[in-house]
Amino acid sequence: MTSHSHSASHGADVPAIDVRDLRVSLGGVAVLRGVNFVVPAGQLVALIGPNGSGKTTLLRALLGLQKFHGGVIRLFGETNLRAGLARVGYVPQRMDLERSFILSVREFLALRLPATRHWFWLSKRRTDSLIRESLAEIGVEALLDKPLAQLSGGQLQRVLIAFSLLQRPDLLLLDEPTAGVDAPGEETFYELIAGIQKRHRMTVVLVSHDLSMVYRHANRVYALNGVMCCEGTPDEIMNAESLKEAFGIHVSPYHHHHDAH
């Protein structure tokens, strides 16, 4: 037990994400203007910002999909992004899959694991155990033999999460995870993510344009608009004057109720 807590405290010193003074320009427009973004390990945090605030650009930079002109990105203290990404699971917002491509859920998940990389030649039994386990955790084991292109938005989202959990990542990045999900589904979804985060003691970053969605589940909220406007607990963020100024809107966790005319 002592050795475990020792290694845990050692790991806790290094933030999962450590971004310093990140600068990105797209087509001559400075999208990220010196962003600092430090996420301690083992937290469930939300990265919020209006459309065009650079959330997606920051996420893409973290994933090595976007070149940056200045600044440093460290994942678990590692400046070599490729090495850091081995510990990262990424759940994209959507999947633009051609319906004629008949990739089954089982085959899709097999693409993630070195042990099942040769799914084409292997029997189902040999690829199954790990894949079933991962699907069962997300509660979608019944989808095992379904073609990916025939899934609903919510089902696909869960399969994508199962995919990203297969390699037991230490950091999970989700891009607008509830974009295609209805309101009751959204609540279940956040409970699912929070459960996974606690069970695996991983760091989770939810990227969203809507604060009210993540308000109840995030430990910490980061508000981005070209620069990091403010960060804090959800309650601190709600009352921050700088947030209202930067976003130019009244941010409230209850704004759905005020929408009625």
Binding site: L63, L65, L85, L97, L111
Partner: protein, 289 residues
């Protein structure tokens, strides 16, 4: 006469042996590549590089070559590179880029061929395929391509499937997406260039599109789709040659129509099967009164 007898009779002729071998090597290869070509929405791309072949043929005639395969491959690769360059360095829509290059390269080819005083009859084989004129050289080229590409595809099947499903996820998973995409385009260009002899510039894309769609009608997963697509390509090639031989029609068109016939059969079959299974399951779930 039954089918095996016809095929045995056909195979007594050396030129038909070569045609059979070439068709049986290239059609399944196109069908295999086609699964990924259609899933990646690259059918128009392959149409563009095959039409660029007309300029390649013209260059071959200009250089006085008996076999225009090399200039054909060179021009097709150049057009593929131009598509990539324009995509990355202009704001043009991909479809417009391809339409520009398709019509442009056909126009250049037509003018060059006119200036070189080529008779339209000489072009027929390139436009619509002339499988029966091929020699053993063509068979060996097809065999070499088939072996190399199949090994390449099956060694990289997982990476290729993941890139097809989601490029950015693939990149985050550590796959070298750019390299894989370039390799795929080069392989596709070479395959299209060699298959022009089988089906002609106009028809070559059909062999990339129809067998995967036929397989899609019957498949529940990618393994089935790949195997059935290869089978559909092979059956279409043999069937087409038999039809061409029996009815004395051009074999490129006969292969395409056989593939289309298989597609329609499987489409109807899949519809009937689905209707049947849903009726059975409805009957089973209806409580007995």
């Amino acid at each position: 006469m039954c089918l095996p007898t016809i095929i045995i009779m056909m195979l007594t002729e050396p030129w038909m042996q070569r045609a059979f071998l070439t068709a049986l090597l290239l059609a399944p290869l196109c069908a295999l590549l086609g699964v990924f070509v259609t899933a990646r929405r690259m059918a128009f791309f392959s149409d563009t590089i095959s039409h660029a072949g007309l300029t390649g043929v013209a260059v071959g005639v200009w250089l006085g070559l008996a076999d225009p395969t090399l200039p054909l491959i060179a021009v097709s690769l150049a057009v593929a590179a131009a598509i990539f360059w324009l995509k990355e360095n202009t704001s043009l829509v991909t479809d417009s880029i391809m339409a520009l290059l398709l019509s442009g390269s056909v126009a250049v080819g037509v003018i060059l061929l006119k200036m070189l005083k080529t008779r339209p009859g000489d072009l027929y084989g390139f436009l619509f395929g002339d499988l029966l004129a091929g020699g053993w050289r063509e068979v060996w080229q097809a065999a070499g391509l088939c072996v190399i590409v199949s090994i390449g595809i099956f060694l990289n099947l997982s990476s290729l499937s993941l890139v097809t499903a989601h490029e950015e996820m693939a990149q985050v998973c550590g796959i070298r997406v750019r390299g894989l995409n370039y390799a795929f385009v080069i392989v596709l260009t070479l395959t299209v260039a060699l298959t022009i002899r089988l089906l002609g510039i106009i028809l070559v894309t059909s062999l990339l599109v129809i067998p995967p769609a036929t397989a899609g009608n019957l498949s529940r997963n990618l393994r089935q789709q790949i195997l059935l697509s290869i089978a559909a390509g092979g059956i279409g090639a043999i069937g087409g040659l038999v039809v061409a031989y029996q009815l004395d029609v051009p074999c490129g068109a006969a292969i395409v129509l056989t593939c289309l016939g298989l597609f329609i059969l499987t489409l109807v079959g899949a519809r009937v099967r689905n209707a049947w299974t849903s009726r059975v399951s409805r009957a089973a779930s209806t409580p007995v009164a």
